[in-house]
């Protein structure tokens, strides 16, 4: 395991210290908890957004705490959903009286831990609502199963619902716009290499030199199938075809995110974007905005995901709104 760390047991705590030292203007850490909140939390009268999950997805979610996006981010152990008490602490710290929206990614652990936190908050009469992001089309959606995972599309929820909250919308309205994003965003990813959870000390799976995993999430897990490595254009074609087959994007305007999983250079993400944009152009789908970079990572995994969000006027306006966070700034 080759990592720039000190002790696998303390990676999350040490990382958070480093974040706070780097961005005191944006975030502070709740003493005794692995929770980052806006330096000026709670923002009185504003709906607050709290997200989080296991660590190892940086800049998600702490990097998106700031004006126009999140109010708080809860950092679990690496790839492990945070515990309810941590989430609850975040909720208390950011609640400015207008209620708190929990943005949860659809994983059994996240769902249950955030749900328990919401129960705790309800007991203290804090108004809490939740949305569950499940954008990953690699996984079959079914009420009989765990359902689709939440992956990089979550960042669009942070951005857009965060802008709505900043604009003074009510908890109900912010929740509704978050749900609109969730209903309209789809993603799919792939990887060329596994990654190593520091405490596990060895790679999450093994891949031959000519193999890749298609349809995988952001927790170092294997994908839905293994294949021989194809040229970038063919890989992108598969990802985009799966996405476009899931909801009707015909004639619509979209936002695109080419998300790196942590170990893939920007060069390759842009090569992916070249194909994504040409495919969408061919199909008459208009790209309104494109994000390329490491937004929702899986430690040092090499690979990437494509997310496509169908826009309407409301979503466009909120997507364009100013944001000022450590990892996402927009004028």
């Amino acid at each position: 395991m080759k990592k720039l760390i000190n002790n696998p047991e303390f990676v999350v705590e040490e990382m958070l210290e480093g974040v706070v030292k780097a961005h005191p203007k944006y975030v502070r850490k709740l003493e005794g908890f692995n929770v980052l909140v806006r330096t000026n939390s709670p923002v009185q009268g504003k709906v607050a957004l709290v997200s989080g999950g296991g660590s190892g997805h940086e800049p998600s979610h702490g990097g998106f705490v700031g004006k126009g996006m999140l109010d708080g981010a809860v950092a679990g152990a690496v790839f492990t959903s945070p515990t309810p008490d941590q989430v609850f602490e975040a909720v208390k710290a950011v609640n400015g009286g207008a209620g708190v929206l929990l943005v949860v990614k659809n994983y059994t652990g996240d769902i249950m831990n955030f749900e328990m936190a919401a129960e705790m908050a309800a007991m203290e009469d804090i108004q809490v609502a939740s949305v569950v992001v499940n954008d990953d089309v690699a996984v079959e959606n079914s009420t009989w199963t765990t359902g689709r995972r939440g992956i990089a599309g979550t960042v669009f929820v942070h951005k857009i619902a965060g802008a709505a909250a900043e604009a003074g919308k009510s908890l109900e309205e912010v929740k509704a716009v978050a749900e609109k994003v969730i209903a309209n965003v789809r993603s799919m990813g792939m990887s060329l290499t596994p990654c190593t959870v520091p405490a596990a000390g060895k790679p999450s799976f093994e891949l031959a030199e000519n193999e890749m995993e298609m349809g995988l999430g952001i927790h170092g897990e294997p994908g839905t199938f293994r294949d021989v490595i194809k040229p970038a254009d063919e890989i992108v074609e598969h990802l985009v075809d799966k996405i476009l087959a899931d909801i009707d994007y015909n004639g619509s305007e979209v936002a695109v995110m080419i998300n790196g999983l942590g170990g893939t250079p920007l060069m390759e993400l842009y090569i992916m974007n070249r194909k994504v944009s040409s495919m969408l152009e061919e199909k008459g789908i208009k790209v309104y905005k494109t994000l390329v970079g490491n937004y929702m990572t899986s430690l040092e995994m090499a690979g990437g995901s494509v997310s496509i969000l169908k826009l309407d006027d409301e979503l466009k306006e909120l997507l364009d709104a100013t944001a000022d966070t450590p990892a996402f700034v927009q004028l």
Partner: protein, 211 residues
């Protein structure tokens, strides 16, 4: 009959067994999950040590609830809330009691399972910890109802749990992360079912050793 002190020994034994199997459980989870189950469980049980120590003179219910709260606030992931809920429900069964009878034991496992189902919305056959726990419960209940001594009954429960773990190898997951793998999860043993089995086995080992 399990006296409070024996219960404490069981918790210690579970902590030890989970620690010894940390890598094993993590390896299982790397194959079909995200490779943290052993790490999570070990972190949780190591964290409860001092907390349990602080209530070691209290009743069984308090001890079990202390375990529950400790697991909930340190394990995280799917297994944290699930095992946390299970211990919480178990504690409610023996609130204010200094001893656990065989009948209590059956009730505990029942309540624990109901708690897990309520929280996790999984069913038997979904390739989860329930596939170890439900057969264990059935075996325990039958044996206790037939009047077998608790140690024997627990032995049967452990056997049934072991069978349940083996069964998880044959099915595709419907719940938890392994579900994402679709049929690729077939052939691999569920880590949560395995940790459930290990915990039951630890309890049984204490019973036989101390009997």
């Amino acid at each position: 009959m399990i006296h409070r002190d024996l219960l404490l020994k069981m918790i210690e034994e579970i902590t030890m067994v989970i620690g010894a199997n940390k890598q094993y459980l993590t390896d299982l989870d790397q194959t079909i999950g995200d490779g943290d189950h052993g790490i999570n469980m070990d972190r949780g049980f190591r964290a409860i040590k001092d907390k349990v120590e602080a209530v070691k003179d209290k009743d069984c219910g308090t001890i079990l609830k202390t375990v529950a709260m400790g697991l909930i606030s340190t394990v995280g992931g799917a297994s944290g809330p699930l095992y946390g809920t299970a211990f919480m429900k178990a504690g409610q069964v023996v609130a204010n009691k200094m001893e656990i009878t065989a009948e209590d034991a059956v009730k505990i496992l029942d309540e624990a399972i109901q708690g897990i189902i309520a929280r996790g919305k999984a069913a038997q056959g979904d390739k989860t910890m329930l596939d170890a726990l439900i057969p264990a419960y059935d075996a325990l209940k039958a044996a206790v109802e037939e009047g077998e001594p608790l140690t024997n009954a627990m032995g049967k429960a452990v056997e049934a749990a072991e069978g349940g773990v083996a069964y998880t190898k044959t099915i595709a997951a419907k719940k938890g992360r392994a579900n994402y793998l679709g049929d690729r999860s077939i052939g691999h043993q569920d880590p949560g079912a395995t940790s459930s089995y290990l915990m039951l086995k630890a309890i049984y080992d204490v019973l036989t050793r101390e009997a």
